[in-house]
Symmetry: C2
């Protein structure tokens, strides 16, 4: 029997560490062949497969794979249809053709939906193929798992960047506000990670705005004004997804019908840029908008070793579960000890996970002072610990690339 692995959804720094974990464990468990789907289920439907034993045959392949951001196998944003048996029949025909007994899918919420639908369909038709999901998302918004692989590395990048931006932004003897926009439409986990920057060597983010708390522009301006009485230069972390009490995204506030680009298209201004405009209009201070952009999800050069290790272990645990006869499961991380920190990989029924979203507990947010409370630090600090330094070639981190 053979195994197949796919990757799906947005990149993280450690999704390839999970791939290394699944691949290594498949070999240990005696899978005859290990296939990779190119571009996830979308590629599988086109039989666009790769023999991973060949693709990962170089002596340093796994070592580089762990250090390579984004998805080695390519990705897709494809949601299986609800009631189109033809698609499922076609997929299972292909799986049969390649003698697949074990199906692993590394991804976020949509990918877990794929595992749910395929394992349900397998149960319906009595297929023995086992389907296991391996979690991955920088957003950290999956339920039933203490956290998701990918979050710790993004949090480490965000904490590092905020520290560097604080040093950069406070050098002049002037009033200024730097607003750093961080990913997260509904869950503020990544923006909360900006809080980790505060330490004896760093003032930290002066304010942190999460989507979990309705955003009040007037109170925001007043708080900036108050802080600047004693601290002229502020760095503020905001989630791209913060919304006013009426539910509108902050970047949609104001008369944005005016924000039109050179080609007449309506232009979504960006949360940080909107807030910079607001502060410069209300307080007349110098502002700068910094978007951490896609770098926050792919900066593998500063990944967390804790994250890499857990991502790889989750991949291996998925294989173990499948060979133990389990299916329709996602591997969750369970924090079994806080001091010393230790997480275990445990299989968890996919029906409890798919299509649900976990946000930051309100009790962890000090909304009045725009800061995070102690339980968040206890939760997040272990996840960013330790490093796996890049392999440098000609001064730059070396990656592993799948050749066409």
């Amino acid at each position: 029997m053979n195994a197949i692995i796919g990757q799906s959804g947005g990149p993280t720094s450690v999704i390839n560490a999970s791939l290394a974990g699944v691949f290594g464990a498949c070999r240990t468990h005696g899978a005859e062949k290990v296939y990779g789907m190119r571009h996830g289920v979308q590629g599988l439907l086109k039989e666009d497969l790769v023999d991973l034993s060949a693709a990962l045959s170089a002596p340093d392949a796994l070592d580089l794979l762990r250090r390579t951001p984004a998805t080695f196998l390519g990705s897709c944003r494809y949601k299986l249809p609800k009631d189109d048996d033809a698609v499922y029949e076609s997929l299972f025909d292909i799986l049969k053709k390649y003698d697949i007994g074990y199906f692993f899918y590394i991804g976020g919420n949509d990918s877990m939906d794929t595992i749910l639908k395929l394992s349900d369909y397998a149960a319906k038709i009595g297929s023995p193929i086992r389907f296991i999901g391996v979690p991955k998302t920088i957003d950290n918004d999956l339920t039933e798992t203490d956290h998701t692989p990918g979050f710790g590395s993004a949090a480490k990048y965000i904490g590092t960047s905020i520290k560097e931006l604080v040093r950069d932004s406070t050098i002049y003897d002037l009033k200024s506000v730097t607003i750093v926009e961080i990913m997260g439409r509904n869950a503020g986990w990544l923006t909360a990670a900006a809080a980790l920057a505060k330490d004896e060597d760093c003032e930290g983010a002066a304010m942190i705005c999460l989507p979990e708390v309705p955003f009040d522009p007037e109170r925001f301006v007043a708080h900036v004004e108050k802080l600047q009485q004693s601290t002229p230069s502020l760095v503020i972390a905001v989630s791209e997804g913060i919304r006013a009490a009426d539910g509108r995204y902050v970047c949609e506030l104001g008369d944005n019908s005016l924000l039109v680009d050179a080609f007449g298209h309506k232009y979504l201004g960006g949360t940080a840029r909107y807030l910079c405009s607001l502060l410069s209009a209300k307080l007349g201070v110098k502002t700068r908008a910094v978007e951490l952009s896609t770098l926050q999800r792919c900066a593998s050069h500063t990944a967390s070793l804790t994250d890499i290790t857990e991502a790889e272990a989750a991949g291996a645990a998925a294989v173990k579960a499948a060979y133990n006869g389990q299916t329709g499961m996602m591997i969750a991380l369970k924090r079994v000890s806080s001091d010393p920190y230790r997480c275990e990989s445990v299989p968890c029924d996919i029906h409890q996970i798919a299509n649900l979203e976990k946000t930051v507990p309100l009790a962890w947010i000090d909304a009045e002072n725009y800061q995070m409370r102690e339980p968040f630090f206890d939760y997040a600090r272990p996840l960013i610990l330790d490093e796996l330094p890049p392999v440098y070639v000609r001064g730059l981190p070396r990656h592993l690339r799948l050749k066409d």
Copy 2:
């Protein structure tokens, strides 16, 4: 006799390594006291000084200082007036009050102008104080020096980020263009560093647009269209300062009178965002604008050790020159060997440097194919070599902060 050190202009990752170099060499050469100006000459005029021997007394202080981005002493953007003797009299009175014999200023073009004016004024009044500049700018636009400290680390960050963005941007089986906007108003050195990403493990930047070459929007769109026939996902590096043949900045092209923010202010759209609008209007492709923002000048966690070492050596060479009786000099880096790469620090007459700008030689640019030619690689590759890993505390790089 005492020495004084200031830092001025925009941050780099290694300006504090130069501070460590000046400070260490001042102690070796027997300076009685070593003062730091807070916020450069602006702070000096207010006698806002710090005793560096006290500020750097902790056993790990110099080790952390080398790894701390931005300016430990604070910075200013202050240009000395041309003909206002009162300012010079006041400055020299303060220098006399603190028994200063040696004056070191670490900075870019404007800071070298300060060294020029102060040394000229000293000559005029017969003051024995020696004034030496230490170069610093990520822009690499100073003349008479092979390169400037700060450039190598920014180039390493840019090369690393482009590699990561290429992996991130090519995962979907879709046509897309990611445009990465890089600092540099007139000189394209930093944007050219995007070329370093190309290697056997990376497709590299598909196109590179420097301010040295007039930008033709039509030819740009046509080239993207041509490349996408064989490569659907492209990452393109553009300098913020690219200009059309008529001299207008690209971000000012089109009918930007329409680009107005929610408060009615005219909104400078950004070069990358303009080009994304252009491509999506003309080719209908998915685009994404990424601005490397101030992170490119302060990402000390991935600084080049070659850069740090040279920055510190330049600082030490400034002190040696001053104690040898020289004044009105900037320390230049002179490439004395290419293979193996080796640079020496040599004093150079400040009148040959201040207020001049060095751009990328046109012969190094393959404008037709939007790429860099081999001499650029030979020039830039040694500058990004090797690393000085951060000291990690609680998972984040530790910095040194001057306490108020």
